[in-house]
């Protein structure tokens, strides 16, 4: 169970990891802004960090949209189909 311990260790250091991750993310955006765009196929190709923003927005949108869809429309009890079969 060495692997389990490794994972446990990583979890215990999760704040360190989070910082590292955030730093690298900032770096990514920075590089994207600094580097000239490779293409100009879409208008947003020129905007540095667009992908980061879009990823965040997409994720948030999916979370909320799916939740909305589920609660307003699609969710049923797990035995929904059972009574009829």
């Amino acid at each position: 169970m060495k692997l389990a311990r490794l994972i446990e260790y990583l979890i215990s250091k999760r704040s360190v990891l989070a910082v590292l991750l955030l730093v690298s993310m900032a770096a990514l955006v920075l590089v994207d802004i600094i580097l000239p765009p490779a293409y100009t196929r879409f208008t947003w190709d020129a905007i540095g960090g667009f992908a980061a923003f879009f990823g965040f927005a997409a994720c948030a949108a999916l979370i909320f949209f799916s939740r909305f869809l589920g609660e307003k429309l699609l969710y049923r009890d797990e035995d929904y189909y059972d009574d009829h079969e």
Binding site: L3, A4, L21, L62
Partner: protein
Amino acid sequence: MITSDWLHPSLVLIAGTLVLPLLKGRAMQAWMVLLPLAVLGTLWMAQPGEHGQMAFLGMELVTGRVDELAMVFGWVFGTVLLIGAIYALHVNDRVQHVAAFLYGASALGVVFAGDLITLYVFWELMVITSVWLIWRRKTEVSFNAGFRYLVIHAVGGVVLLAGIILFQFETGTTRFEQIDVDGPAFWLILAAFMINAAVPPLHAWLTDAYPEATVTGAVFLSALTTKTAVYTLIRGYPGTEMLVWMGAAMTLYGVTFAMLSNDIRRLLAYHIVSQVGYMVTGVGLGTALALSGSASHAFTHILYKALLFMGAGAVIHMTGRSRLSELGGLYRYMPWTFVLYLIGGVSISAFPLFSGYVSKTMIVEAAAIDQRAVIWLMLVVASAGTFLSTTLKLPYKTWLGGDSGLQPREAPWNMLLAMGIAAALCFLIGIFPGMLYALLPGAVDFNAYTMSVFLKEMQVLLFTGLAFCLLLKYVGGGPKISLDVDWLYRRGGPRLVGAVGSAIITTDRAIRRTTLEHLARLTAHVEKKHGRDGKLAKSWPIGSMALWTAIVLAMLLTVGVYRG
């Protein structure tokens, strides 16, 4: 089907499978591993060209067409059969093994079919073999789900049959090349392919049935059916505009519903829909790059999706639970499964260095080259969603998150081995994409590892992760199921069939009863009136006889004598 330079892999597999029921224990296990290897061997020996031609019922069959496109799928099918077989080694259910191998043989048969008749035969075989992988879970739910799966595919089958027959009439040939006819033949065949490719709204069979399949069966299912459909779409419908939009819509549909799923394999199943959406989009785009992207994405998808299903399956196998809401904190007990699953997760999410990255970006890039802004955005949203549920939500809720109190043991060695092989391949392809590209038809002019692609992909993924962490408490889920179009046939269809059937039976019975009643009444009446003592039958007194005689005589005489 056999010539000196061609041995049909399906034939090898079918023949080998027929031996399987006779074996036991170790011998059976050895045979199970040997069979896929033999298939890979026959693929190795296969020479490009057309093999196994024959005339049958007035039609020209080509049972073995070997070209690069077919071989891409052939290789990956062979590989996943090997992985799946190893994963299933511990299972002591011959029916499942036989079904799985015959299913694989059928999928290979479709891929190597050079004409639509052969394709159709294997297409149907695929259905009736694969359904056992669902049924053999032997629960009431899997029983019904399998049945629905069967019926939907039967619909697909008959639509395909009709399409092929129309196609034959219109073109005079049954060769399977790009389907370039107008009219119903085109649409019918397309619809049949789309059913198997699980294009919404024809997808619900997949998300309905796969989560109910056996642990090992789901691995084969996830790999074969939809991917043969992708193969047929690539072959038959490249550049069909409609598919671009349907594919992109699929990607979003899949990820959205995946968010709603509580069952781990249903979640993954929705991601099959989503991932196949990329491939369908690629087919629709129809450019060389897009088609290569579709083919290679199918290839990589089979491996990482198999890996994901194996991971999820291992959890189900060890814990007996499949709902996210009932799992959690398993990393201590099943760490290897966790890590291997994560490799699948990052592969499907298209992290650089893993296989999804080298194939999905190809399709996204093709969309970009084609200047399809909306499509591009949709695909990116979908990739964010993919990462969100398969790599973040699912592992978080299963292995991390709150402790569910479960203390399962690690998965058996053969499961881990199979997962390990799949993971290794995912990694290998991620690092050496050239190996995959070399298999594709035509030269691939694409490099996934450019700064631009890398930056975009990493930004999307990591900020998705950020959003997940921040919005964790809003992430949906819970012990619920969500409706999908399968409602139509789980609720609507049976009601309709029931109503029509009742109507017919009632009418029939009513008509029959009324008729019989009337008949009986009539008979009774007649019997009474005309029985032994009825008017006609009773013994008449002599007077009456004489009267009748007189009447007849009088009539004759009147007419005869006085008529003049």
